[in-house]
Amino acid sequence: MLSYCSIEYLLVFLPVVFLGYQILPQTARRYFLLAASYGFFWYLSGPLVVWHVAVCLCVWLVGLRLQHLLDARGLQLKEAERSARKGIRAAYARRMSRWVIVAGVVCFGILLSLKYTPFFTENLNSLFRHLGLHLQLRVPSFAVPIGISFYTLQAMSYVFDVQKEKLQAERNLLRLTLWLSFFPLLMEGPIARFGATAEQIWNVPRIKGENFQKGLWRILYGVMKKMIVADRVNTAVELLYTEYASYDGGMVFLAAVLFTVQEYLEFSGTIDIVIGTGECLGIFLPENFNQPFFSKTISEFWTRWHISLGAWLKDYLFYPLSMSEPLKKLTKKCRTRFGNHYGPLVTSSIALFAVWLFNGLWHGAGWSYIFFGMYHFALIVTGNLLAPVVIGFCEKHKINRRVFPYQLFQMIRTAILVAIGEMFFRALSLKHGLEMFMIMIRHASVRSFADGTWLKLGMDLQDYLIVAAMIVFVFVISLLKERGCQVREQLYRRPVIVRALVTAMLISLVLLFGAYGTGYVPVDPIYANF
């Protein structure tokens, strides 16, 4: 599969886009970007691009309809008596909800049909078998367009935002389409909001030297993450996840850690390339990672990891559910019965359950993904429940929760819990994931590290060392960012020779230490299939 790290993208597609973009007048650039984006989409998904066009058309029409209703409501409210306004609002809210449902049915309908029908059919067949029914449905198989889960959420965020009057509906179909198809966002997000990005993408400026230089550094940083680490550990990850039964708990734990490293550096590396591409063009896309492994709790982790998905779920699922009338009433009841801490927890847990079920399913059509969602749900709820107990325990035993050792303990604990979750996420099935977990617990051992098994996974000592060195490099950059240091900003203020040296060194490091050529198979973009 073509990735943002491939020769096609970096050495052919991007230069052509940059060149075309720069030589065209501003009014033509937006159409050029649109053509380039659909060309990119076509290259990856061929005729499946029609599904994307259908989604664009649907949300554009629904948006216009919602705007029409909002305008009509505004007029009626102006003329109506105060006592009648509530009724008008309710009537229009119902009508608008119907149109939102139409958009939801079309957008999520396409997503569910293409991506989830085989999963649901298989489970139905399994259910029929268990019930002793002689009914077996044919399991269909559909080709799925690239990034369908990303652009579906992005499209629906536009509809919700129009409904909530956070933005005016877009009258120009091409403008909406460009925002929904902008090529850097297509494969792995981030899930951009119309209000924050559409204007930038449409009214694109000329390429500026500063933006281009900084964007290029960001792209190179992403390429380093992907090619030096993610592609290098791929052989070991493949082997450990398919042959886990032949290894002890130590190696299974290594599998969990290696995949977590691979996934983080592949996904965040791709996002670096995506954001860097945008920056080169003068378009500033939203961040998707904020040093997630500095998180002290799982809740915090999900505000730092895949931020755009977390924000989407919070804004369009968690809040609407929490603020719904039935849950509000339930909160009131629970507050009186269980107190101010545990009372609201009950209702927020109901909303959280829906969020994590959706999150799990969004990642893929499989029980392992649902389990992944539920695992994080359980960890967050447990964390919330135990929070007062932990605070009480620390106060009683005079443990200072603000000192670095305690916070380091929290970070390591969170990272381990995340790695275990990622193991279920990567496992070939939920059954495999559970088996791996049991091996990790029952056969916990460091023998495989002592007898050299860890060096027979397609990675030699030098591979581990370069991976470790790159992790340290990423850690240092993350630490600087965490402390508010803008590394690229600082670098850009240096003399030209230093900037040139940094660029040349980054490219040289990729070419020297990158896992490419004989013996390496580049890992497919992990999130592109979601």
Partner: protein
């Protein structure tokens, strides 16, 4: 001035990058054409250790070429100096690259291009990688960072290890070809094996290079029941006619080269073993002399050290 100010940083970046890649290429490149020095195709590159202008014929291609012809055998029988530059699973852009390397210090009279490589698929990315690696070898040797020694930091690549087998890959093992392969071996057909545009382009490029250098080019397919078909034969015949070069299909010469597919193959009809190679060389030597008047270097003192004196060692190797 403003334009210059915009261009300067990027020009400087490219200059520094080129410098870094040049230095890294020297650092990572194997310092000799030996396995110990970290060369992954040391046998094929052994010609670089031969005296300049000493080799009259080169065989280019994939594993079929390096298992079917032994230069030492041709030298011992006919006095022809040749070298096998075949590399396993080779592709045409790599063959083209190898040809350019060969022509740096050698001026052969004849190049035999083994035809199986013509059909090996590759794309523009492979071609780009090969071309870039020619300019900056670090692209090819970058993985050697793992095995760098202090010597790598203090010396430059210098290939001096003379290869006894001159690129030939010997095997005494015999594993008969399965009957189903023999049944369909060279089944008559009028169809053609499809050939990608990029393969055709590189073949024309190789032919043009040879023509420009005054080198005779021959397309030759080595016996292989697994790899060779009438379809490939037909395509090669068309290509040879189009490029006006000879095409010799050893798979069709069963009387002149009586390969016994029970005894003369090392891997079920894929490649020949020593016995198969000897049959090929017995026919090929006189044919080359007759067709291309290649010089007999036996008795020439200039060839004593690297050819005549090495024959005994070669015999030991292959037995």
């Amino acid at each position: 001035m403003k334009y210059l100010k915009q261009i300067l940083p990027w020009f400087l970046t490219l200059l520094l990058l080129a410098g870094m890649l040049y230095l890294l290429s020297i650092l990572t490149g194997p310092k000799n054409n030996t396995q110990e020095a970290g060369h992954d195709a040391w046998a094929a590159y052994g010609f670089e250790a031969e005296a300049p202008d000493s080799i009259d014929m080169f065989m280019l291609g994939d594993s079929e070429s390096r298992t079917s012809i032994s230069p030492m055998e041709l030298f011992h029988n006919e006095g022809i100096t040749s070298y096998c530059c075949g590399i396993n699973s080779n592709i045409l852009c790599e063959v083209d690259d190898m040809l350019h390397l060969v022509l740096k210090e050698q001026h052969p009279k004849l190049i035999i291009l083994e035809c199986n490589v013509i059909f090996s698929p590759f794309d523009w990315k492979d071609a780009l990688e090969t071309t870039t690696a020619r300019i900056f070898p670090v692209i090819r040797w970058h993985n050697r960072w793992k095995t760098l020694t202090p010597e790598d930091f203090t010396s430059i690549p210098d290939y001096t290890s003379v290869e006894v087998r001159k690129g030939y890959y010997h095997s005494t093992y015999a594993d008969p070809a399965p009957p189903f392969l023999l049944d369909r071996y060279m089944e008559a057909s009028e169809d053609r094996e499809p050939l990608d545009g990029i393969n055709r382009w590189y073949l024309k490029k190789i032919a043009a290079t040879c023509r420009k250098q005054g080198i005779s080019l021959v397309l030759m397919s080595m016996p292989s029941v697994k790899n060779w078909t009438s379809l490939k034969h037909n395509t090669c015949a068309d290509l040879a006619a189009e490029l006006d070069i000879p095409f010799v299909d050893l798979n069709e010469m069963r009387e002149e080269i009586p390969i016994d597919w029970n005894l003369d193959t090392r891997d079920r009809g894929d490649h020949l073993n020593n016995d198969g190679m000897k049959k090929v060389c017995t026919w090929l030597g006189p044919w080359l002399k007759e067709q291309y008047a290649l010089e007999d270097h036996r008795g020439d003192p200039a060839y004593d050290a690297t050819w005549t004196d090495m024959y005994e060692e070669y015999v030991e190797w292959i037995s």
